[in-house]
Symmetry: C2
Subunit: 354 residues, 2 copies
Amino acid sequence: MIFPLSRAVETRSGDPLQMQKNLRKPTLSEVAALAGVSEITVSRALRGSSMVTADTIRKVQVAAESLGYLRNRLAGALAGGPSNQVGVILPSLSNIVFPDVLKGLEDRLEHAGFHPVLGISNYDPEKEEHLIRNLLSWRPAGLVIAATSMTATSRGLLAASGLPVVEIMDIDTPPIDMAVGMSHRAAGLDMARHLIGRGYRHLAYVGHDIGRDNRAMARLQGFRSGLQEAGLALEGQVVLTEPSSVALGRRGLAQLLQANPKQVDLVYFSNDDMAVGGVFHCMAEGISIPGQLAIAGFNGLDLGQSLPRRLTTTASHRSRIGEMAARVILERLNGQETVHLTDVGFTLIAGETA
Amino acid sequence: MIFPLSRAVETRSGDPLQMQKNLRKPTLSEVAALAGVSEITVSRALRGSSMVTADTIRKVQVAAESLGYLRNRLAGALAGGPSNQVGVILPSLSNIVFPDVLKGLEDRLEHAGFHPVLGISNYDPEKEEHLIRNLLSWRPAGLVIAATSMTATSRGLLAASGLPVVEIMDIDTPPIDMAVGMSHRAAGLDMARHLIGRGYRHLAYVGHDIGRDNRAMARLQGFRSGLQEAGLALEGQVVLTEPSSVALGRRGLAQLLQANPKQVDLVYFSNDDMAVGGVFHCMAEGISIPGQLAIAGFNGLDLGQSLPRRLTTTASHRSRIGEMAARVILERLNGQETVHLTDVGFTLIAGETA
DNA sequence: CTGAAAGCGCTAACAT
DNA sequence: ATGTTAGCGCTTTCAG
């Protein structure tokens, strides 16, 4: 049995634990009976409706308290009340980016009394579709999704849901409903221009599993465009088919330098974790930064900014994305007009490694 | 597949909230009508009950598909069906430890078709209590909580809920229902013994906001016990009242060395982030590791293991904690016997920094 | 300001 | 193998 019913125990008034153990979960009508009012009045009182006397509110509260009443939102939501759940679909929690986004999201939702209901797609469109169906079946107040590449059915489900739906991270493609994020293409381009401006001419790239991370791919595309503008091209490239990590970045740079022994003077990494790995490789091999080799990353993690030499990188405003996503959902639920595209931008950090 | 977008009734305004209100989703009975069977048969067919003909299952599926039917689990759960939601309360998402735990948890829950419903307590017992009440009101299948110090009411609510409740991280205090974690005291003790065995005699500590992180405090206590065993004591200590970070560790070590110029030969940090900060400080100041100063951390993050010299630390099995928490909940829901205390242990990593 | 009636959409418990 | 009957516990009408 799923809910083992506790048997009767001797009551000790005042102890909420004991009070509740004696009975099935008390319902509205039991509270109503004890308070000497109707169910609906209890409902209104407990939800803070304006149309209830302060006096009856108190009566109801006392009754509810003494019974250890716990609201049943399943019933409430089914009966047409609002839900305070927001479905959240992320591709992963391993990449620090997503916990950061989730943090911002949760923080704002929390303030409004909402909760994220989480699903991790693991970069799999099929699973993503499955998750959408699943989360939607709980009739949440809204949905936030960091999509990979949605199936047509997924898009259909979201569009048909009639809920506020926010697609986060990217704003490079038109959203079903709303989007919050930044242009990764622009970030890559921006970094390329910055580096070229600093005099680097022999640039290479070290990346992680790019098939799954089309944000990283967009950055690389932007970066390439920047090189093209200056009549340059990537002089080396290592793309490893594993999730990004410090260890992978270290390995990736070793591999790159083995294949392209001398000419490269700067390596653009797919993100800061990878870039820090690159820095560590240089430290271990006695390669001076940025003298012999310059390094740039993406994300602006605390980690990179605490290196002996501050990492040159692009700060992404991750928790801000989460915050804004929560914000547009709440605004929409509030009946306010909402913007369909929110660009949180990015900030180039000219550090000491490039 | 047809999405019930066109089924809006009486749509008169462009206001999205209105549109949403007017959208009617198809129900079981509509599917039943179309399939020419009863509601309950549809219900059974869609849930994969064994007692339905393959043929009617197909009929039902076709009908459901063509209407764009989407299961309403609110109604299902209210009517006595199982919930696939598990409440999860964590103190923070900023500390990498908790995303890691959440990852393991989500992964296992996912496989069983369950979803975490998240609440972040921000190390505040009042908020924690509030979250417990809130999540419980959705009648989840279980609850996982990384508690700070619960209020009596919180404990009462959890005990009275009759749900599987798992307290995670610590196993140093007796749980209300079940606990999954490790002994942080033991980890600190273990590290102290290891270091003393390596010959260090002048040990100091650099920690972060310990008032909020009683796990770190437990490690420090264990560490001290280890010193005592050897007739030693901490020769220096800096505890900063901020959340742990690489930057803070760097600052903390600088502060420690300023106050205790020469005697210290090893610094135990409250965790790896802090320890890496310490390593960076040494790099920047030209202090050789471990020759002039040895460093040890806690957690076994990828980061520390990718340093030019692998960090000496204790690997905590974070995602394993999440996995085991999910496991005991699922076992309990499955009617199996469950253990009340699960120690996932820890692993000392004898790196190159101490 | 309070109440009575009428479901919300589903599933468990018995039917057949 | 399928159907019938009753709710689950609440909140929306609409009355008073």
